[in-house]
């Protein structure tokens, strides 16, 4: 596999570590015990689409950037990659 790093171009799979669904970015900022349901869903519930999937990859042997990679799970075609930091900021996670 080759992953199009937004800053460094196409890089080989083995420079990366996989984490999972990019929905992990949307962490509920919960402090109260009554927020458990939202956290439970965040930790344990995942979609498993046959098709486009946004997922987190870490450029562990490279620049240590977390990426959000959009991949078609049926063909492994990669449709794009963004810096996860930019995705998180765009989602309003700038606290």
């Amino acid at each position: 596999m080759r992953i199009p790093h937004p800053l460094l171009g196409l890089r080989d799979l083995r420079e990366f570590t996989y984490l999972g669904d990019a929905a992990l970015i949307d962490r509920p900022e919960a402090t109260a015990d009554e927020d458990k349901a939202a956290l439970n869903a965040h930790v344990f519930l995942r979609d498993n689409p046959a098709g486009t999937h946004r997922e987190l990859w870490y450029h562990e042997y490279g620049d240590r950037s977390w990426l959000v990679v959009t991949r078609d799970t049926r063909t492994h075609e990669i449709l794009g990659a963004e810096l996860a930091r930019d995705v998180a900021l765009a989602a309003g996670r700038d606290r």
């Binding site: 596999m1 109260a32 344990f44 240590r64 063909t75 998180a88 900021l89 996670r93 606290r95």
Partner: protein, 983 residues
């Protein structure tokens, strides 16, 4: 000895001779020969025995699809079993042995299996060796393995090296036949970066094996002129002896280059083979086609082979058949073989053509509408029985029979990334289909364009198309040669019905009858057929048998071939030795090894080392006279408790956390409060996973308002850094935090024991170590040994007064030596990981065994550390009812009988309770002999542990059949009040 009888022509160097042996007998061949061609030239047709029935077999092909002629090449540690004689390049001194026979190839007593064949059909093993079950491993399997099989491994370490490399190109061309050569030429002239790979040791593909393909010159002549031009093109890389074995995602290809397989042994530093990963923007599959046989009774007799192979041996290697030749065909290509052999002066006994409208022969008899119904001969073919169109039986004496059942395009690589092939009724063959990935194109015979002309123009066309997608303009070469443009005319035939065994998969001895049996037993999917009969599962991966097998199955099921479908194509296309995948990852290169800064010193001290992840750590330091590791470890532990010990703890992960929001960040990472930590102080910290379980622990030291150094366990240094980066970039990108790993930058030495303060005082440059100035959990940057910058932490893993002192890594060795020399009168003693473990178990500190991913802060006795006032990762989820209801908590255990040991991993039960899962109360996570207490101690997770203090539990170790009784105690075996560590 003469290099054997030869015809005119051929691509061998007749003036040079190479001596080689087969089963000890000496022969001669020529450079350019394969082992198979040289043996055939010497009249040796019998080259192997079949896998199951031990039937005598000769070569069936002249290439990598070979199912029969498998031999063991070389001897001793270099012996390599299951090498195809048809691809093994001849070299001076080559030694080959036949396989799977006893006592000899000609007289194989194991051939008794063949007499038992009626009982040994498909599924025989599954049905026969079912019971008694216990017999399988001890009796049946060894017996079967001895009777059936291929060559044997040498069982010695491979003396040769294998390396890995990466290639990058615009265009990868797989196969150097006419299509591949035209494609490579087109692309290379455009200036694009091109890699051309071919599994043969000579470029040309089928051009090397044919006569009269090109109009005004021979194939090899044209290839020769191309090779001259290729030499001058620096942007073209030609890889001979290289099999592209797999297509992987996004244009990455696996290829095996046989660098030194054609030499008796590799030159110094030369790898035998090279595993290449080729990263190609576009790839052209020009892999040609493989002729397929038809199945009929006795079709495995030595001397029966693919017609195209017969033609190749005559044309390329100038090997004459040992006598008259017959051809059995269902298409025009069979006649081409007859014509070529006839032109070379070989006697053609006849062409048996299944088709009633067969073409006329030129100088040989054609039996139109006829078929071969049997063969005669024992170790070699003597005659065939032909049933004519009129039903007459004719016995035709011949020594070789060429079979031509049509050609299968080599489409495997185009399907490795998924998709199914498309069936062509016209060609009676599978074509790549429409599922070919966008970065791949197929041309020539691989795409069903069987004529040389179509291959040349097709190759050039796909090269231009692929390059134009990359923005590279390429011209079709105006000097491509004129070539034949024959059409395929074929009437499909898969097998000849009749009595006698008709083999489909020669290597695994699968017959038409076996497929019928599978069908009768309701194996309807081709995937089931494959697994039940093992058809196509041999080292040749069914290259000559797969399509016939499924065609026979389709016929039995009354379905069409495309309805029946194919099995899935997966890498590797050809066999690849495991050693090639391992490459240099063996011996000292097996995996990364990390050494602590005091490594050289520890070696000098005679330390025994242990692997801790990638690290090599000193396990203990034996002294003269100590005969058991426990003696050394006990001494080291007692030295720490009574005087002072030194341990290199550099391996703990260290992460520099800086930034205006560093404190706020760590407050969200650790479940306990961190923002309140004062500058100049350290604090124990516990990280939770988001699901509420404990992840890792360590200390955080605040060196400045906006600067922390946090430690991780040795094993989790990488994962924790990744986790912190995830939190920094994905969860809270608005926080001002910067992270850098400093694990390798600083050497860190633990100085532990009542004498530690006195020892530290001897190396620091004027620094107040008093309890008031530098209390427990203090930290500071300071200077030591005359100006060297250092960091000092008053932290303790052992429960003793202790410090950790850090210096730039390059000075770690010198600091260790200095501490040892200035502390001699204090009884300074180096200790290793074993003593470190005993010390922390005595103190009740959790480590990797306790932080195993299944435990919570509550189980570790740290539940109250989890702050309820902040949104730290995992804090809320750690309060899920199920986790709060967990009563298994960390306790200490001591044996009731002080002579007993307490084995780690043992499970705990109440006295009198059955030893089963339902009554399981927990497990021992860590155990040690405590020299301080004089008996075994253990840390354990025990159900209701808090209420069981003082009670007795059963420690069950069913693995070793032992049980002992233990008393539940506090996990703090030493100094529970912490008097010692506060000095």
């Amino acid at each position: 000895m003469s290099g054997g009888a030869r015809l005119a022509g051929g691509l061998i160097e007749r003036e040079r001779r190479l001596r080689f042996t087969f089963d000890g007998q000496v022969f001669e061949g020529h450079p350019g020969d394969t082992l198979a061609s040289a043996l055939l030239a010497n009249g040796k047709v019998l080259m192997g025995r079949s896998f199951k029935y031990h039937r005598p077999r000769g070569p069936f092909s002249a290439g990598s699809e070979e199912p029969n002629a498998l031999v063991t090449l070389r001897t001793g540690a270099r012996a390599e079993p299951n090498t195809r004689a048809t691809t093994a390049e001849l070299y001076e001194g080559l030694e080959a042995r036949s396989q799977n026979r006893w006592p000899s190839l000609a007289l194989d007593l194991m051939a008794v299996n063949d007499l038992l064949a009626p009982f040994l059909g498909a599924g025989f093993y599954y049905k026969t060796f079912m019971w008694p079950r216990a017999f399988w491993e001890k009796l049946y399997e060894p017996l079967i393995r001895r009777a059936a099989g291929l060559g044997r491994l040498s069982s010695q370490p491979d003396p040769d090296a294998y390396e890995s490399a990466w290639l990058h190109c615009d265009l990868l061309v797989v196969g150097a036949g006419p299509a591949g050569l035209a494609a490579a030429l087109t692309a290379a002239r455009s200036g694009a970066r091109v890699v051309l790979a071919d599994e043969d040791f000579r470029l040309g593909g089928r051009l090397l094996a044919e006569r009269g393909n090109l109009a005004d010159r021979t194939g090899p002549d044209w290839v020769g002129s191309l090779e001259d031009e290729f030499e001058r093109l620096p942007n073209l890389r030609v890889l001979r002896r290289t099999t592209v074995f797999g297509a992987f995602d996004h244009g990455v290809w696996g290829a095996l280059e046989r660098v030194a397989d054609h030499l008796a042994e590799p030159l110094p530093d030369m790898p035998r083979q090279r595993l290449l990963r080729i990263v190609a923007r576009r790839t052209l599959i020009c892999t040609g086609a493989t002729e397929r046989p038809m199945a009929f009774a006795g079709n495995d007799r030595p001397g029966v082979m693919l017609a195209s192979a017969l033609r190749a041996y005559a044309n390329r290697w100038a090997v004459p058949p040992p006598g008259p030749v017959a051809i059995f065909t269902n298409n025009d290509d069979g006649h081409r073989t007859a014509a070529d052999l006839s032109a070379l002066g070989c006697q053609v006994a006849g062409v048996i053509d299944m088709r009633p409208q067969a073409p006329q022969g030129a100088g040989y008899e054609v039996f139109a509408g006829a078929h071969v119904r049997a063969t005669r001969g024992r170790l070699a073919l003597r005659a065939i029985e032909v049933e004519t169109a009129g039903g007459r039986i004719v016995s035709l004496p011949c020594r070789m029979l060429g079979i031509s059942g049509g050609w299968n395009p080599n489409i495997q690589l185009s399907l490795h990334r998924g998709g199914r092939p498309a069936w062509s009724d016209e060609l009676a063959a599978f074509l790549p289909g429409t599922a070919t990935p966008a970065d791949m194109r197929v041309a020539g015979a691989a795409s069903g364009d069987f004529s040389t002309r179509a291959a040349l123009t097709g190759g050039a066309a796909i090269a231009r198309a692929a390059l134009s997608e990359l923005g590279i303009a390429a011209e079709t070469p105006d000097d491509l040669p004129e070539a034949e443009d024959a059409h395929v005319r074929i009437t499909p035939c898969w097998h000849v019905p009749g009595k006698g065994r008709a083999f489909v998969d020669l290597q695994h001895d699968v017959t038409v009858k076996d497929i019928g049996l599978a069908h009768a037993e309701n194996m309807r999917s081709v995937e089931h057929l494959k697994r039940y009969t093992t058809l196509g599962m041999a080292t040749d991966q069914g290259r000559t048998s797969g399509v016939i097998g499924l065609a026979v199955m389709a016929e039995l099921a009354g379905r069409s071939i495309p309805e029946t479908g194919t099995t899935t194509f997966r890498p590797p296309y050809g066999p690849v030795a495991i050693g090639a995948f391992a490459g240099d990852a063996r011996g000292p290169g097996f995996r990364p090894v990390r050494l602590a800064p005091s490594q050289a010193w520890a070696v000098e001290q005679g330390a025994v080392f242990v692997e801790a992840g990638q690290w090599m750590r000193a396990q203990y330091f034996p002294r003269p006279g100590e005969t058991h590791w426990r003696e050394s470890v006990d001494r080291e532990v007692l030295a720490v408790r009574s005087s002072v010990g030194l341990c290199d703890v550099t391996t703990l992960g260290k992460i520099d956390v800086q930034g205006a929001d560093a404190a706020a960040f760590l407050d969200r990472i650790y479940c306990n409060a961190m923002a309140s930590l004062k500058v100049g102080r350290s604090r124990y910290g516990l990280m939770l996973r988001e699901d509420g379980h404990a992840m890792d622990d360590g200390t955080a030291a605040r060196l400045a308002e906006d600067h922390f150094v946090v430690t991780t366990t040795t094993a989790n240094a990488g994962p924790v850094f990744r986790h912190l980066e995830f939190a920094r970039q994905c969860l809270w990108p608005g926080l001002d935090v910067q992270l850098v790993s400093t694990t390798d930058a600083w050497a860190q030495i633990a100085v532990a024991g009542p004498g530690s303060r006195a020892l530290i005082a001897r190396v620091i440059d004027g620094f107040d170590l008093s309890d008031e100035a530098f209390p427990f959990m203090a930290c500071a940057s300071l200077r030591i040994c005359g100006g060297l910058r250092a960091r000092l932490f008053r932290i303790s893993f052992s429960g003793e007064l202790a410090y950790e002192i850090a210096v730039p890594a390059r000075f770690g060795d010198a600091l260790m030596r200095r501490l040892m020399s200035v502390g001699a009168d204090l009884g300074v003693t180096p200790y290793g990981t074993e003593a470190l473990g005993v010390l922390r178990i005595e103190k009740g500190h959790a480590a990797g065994n306790e932080l195993n991913g299944q435990t919570t802060a509550q189980m570790l006795g740290l539940g109250r550390m989890v702050s309820t006032r902040k949104a730290a990762i995992g804090a809320v989820m750690s309060r899920r009812p199920g986790l709060l209801a967990e009563t298994r908590v960390q306790v200490g255990l001591v044996p009731v009988d002080p002579a007993d040991t307490l084995p780690g991993g043992a499970h705990l039960f109440a006295e009198g309770a059955p030893r089963d899962m339902r009554n399981d109360l927990g497990w021992i996570s860590s155990s040690a002999h405590s020299p301080h207490l004089g008996h075994a101690i253990a840390l354990a997770f025990l159900e209701g542990g808090a209420e069981r203090m003082g009670q007795t539990v059963i420690v069950a170790n069913p693995l070793e059949g032992a049980e002992m009784r233990a008393r539940v105690v506090s996990p703090h075996f030493i100094d529970p009040e912490g008097v010692r560590l506060r000095g």
